[in-house]
Symmetry: C2
Subunit: 357 residues, 2 copies
Amino acid sequence: MKKTQYVVSCLSALALAGGAFLLFPSLALSDNDDQALIAKANALFKPLPASSALENTELTPSRVALGKALFFETRVSSDGRLGCATCHNPAYHGADSLALTTGINGKVLARNAPTVFNTSLLIAQHYGGNRATVEEQAYKALLSPVAYGNTSNEQVETKLTQLGYLPLFKAAYPADAKPVNVDNWGKAIGAYERTLLTPAPFDKFLQGDAQALSRPAKLGLEKFINTGCAGCHNGVTVGGQSYQKFGITQDYWLVTGSTPKDAFKGYDKGRFHDTKDEADAFIFKVPQLRNVAVTPPFFHDGSVASLPQAVRVMAQLQLGKQLSDEDVSHIVSFLESLTGDIPADFSNVPKLPSAPH
Amino acid sequence: MKKTQYVVSCLSALALAGGAFLLFPSLALSDNDDQALIAKANALFKPLPASSALENTELTPSRVALGKALFFETRVSSDGRLGCATCHNPAYHGADSLALTTGINGKVLARNAPTVFNTSLLIAQHYGGNRATVEEQAYKALLSPVAYGNTSNEQVETKLTQLGYLPLFKAAYPADAKPVNVDNWGKAIGAYERTLLTPAPFDKFLQGDAQALSRPAKLGLEKFINTGCAGCHNGVTVGGQSYQKFGITQDYWLVTGSTPKDAFKGYDKGRFHDTKDEADAFIFKVPQLRNVAVTPPFFHDGSVASLPQAVRVMAQLQLGKQLSDEDVSHIVSFLESLTGDIPADFSNVPKLPSAPH
């Protein structure tokens, strides 16, 4: 074989290899590409920590056990039917599958219930961020007329005592003279919720395991970053760490199909309803995207049921971009890599205390 | 020692033993007494069977798994919030802790939700017995305007298909051309419920283990039989095998504090509301007593919250007897021996199918 022929043959072989490359796209990202993507991702995101305990607050087994019981307890609500687990149901990955969640007496509320998983890591609670911590969210829900519907802290404390909770509160907060109180209700539920973290394939990827994501998921991650999604959806919870206007390029309801809500006397204006400051109009907490693929429907009012459609809507509303079907499909694959396992203990409904005969 | 002296000494010893007998009442029931009580109990009651499967119907793992998913599924109800597990909650021993249960949209219903445990063994379902089997109860609930609130079988079948249930129905009923149907909904949930049996200490006692019941429980069992309670509360489920008038000696509401209900245009008259036959007025299915101690409140309308009080009410209303506090306390101890363990699998909420994106 002459040298020229040899070179041509090699080029043909390369061309053939290139063809194979196209035929077997799973080979398309080289090890170097993978390492570059892992590095890029680590600049924007963080793996879940082992715990989200507050500083100087121990998640003792007795606190977590009490918090879990209270999480599943419904007898403290004024209709006896609502507990944390009603809207944050193990069957639906810590959310409730409804567009708009419901409160006591079957009342349909104005916003969607997000998953409870990893929520202790967010900048604040509620779509408007009007609760600083999971602890505050939990105890303030007790007196909310649309949530638990109690009329006083004393009423709650009496119910808890009559239901037989004193020993559990005592075990969890032994230093307190009067351990059954709404502050400890919030602390205990918070302690439990801080254990509800859901590591996902994406965490393994961030930690260096290039095989943890499929090729479409990696392409989706690239696209997610390059499109600009990660400008808001970043950090340990891929969102949930900042506030942002919903509807940059146009009013959100023109694209989402959202409707006005009585509770807001019109369209939901996000933080404005808490601060009454026009600068906060349409500002919402950026939702975390962990477990987004398994917690439809989407947005603060559950107005979009399809994840691909939610991705399209976001690109258009927030970034003025029209994504191709392929891009959407890849981004959806990436979002699926944020689905973690349901914490085993969360699916196991506790046997609740009952008052002595 | 003369013979007379010896006899006197023996009598003194017996008297002393009699004193010890009183001082140590745990020794009071002899082995013979125990065996007699076990025999007496076996003439009235039966231990739980290993399974309550219908004849010619196999509780295959795929049917039970489908039934379990459907049991916890809420998206099939018209408000998206109600499933079997709403009223038959693992946290409350298969009941819901409410006096009157609630249907869709928070509507308070006219009757109490009994535990689902062992209910497949009862003569019929509902307080009026208007559902022959757990299967019939489950599928008829779908179109009940106060339960799931669906308007047609087709609507239910469409929802189930859209939610991604086809593969589960196919696996459970492979011979059916169109497996997603309300008949199979009932069959699958029935299959699951037939696994929810709760063997209790009393079963061990019936099987010959005299130590399975405490002394107060044995005294309570004796009292339960001798008072006449076992005239209705007998069989494998200690009740639930027959119908009886509620309020033999006087109108039940005079003692229970029950109130008239809109749904019945007055006081609940039991089977009368289904049959319209005056002979059925105030006839109710005798409730089973398995797990009664952990499923307050009591009676068809949850009108009595305390178990000792419920025992007193029953003795007075049905048998014209006033029980002493000690008798009530012993009967309550016996009733506590009917508390079984929550089936482990029942407490574990399944991950439900979700429609593909």
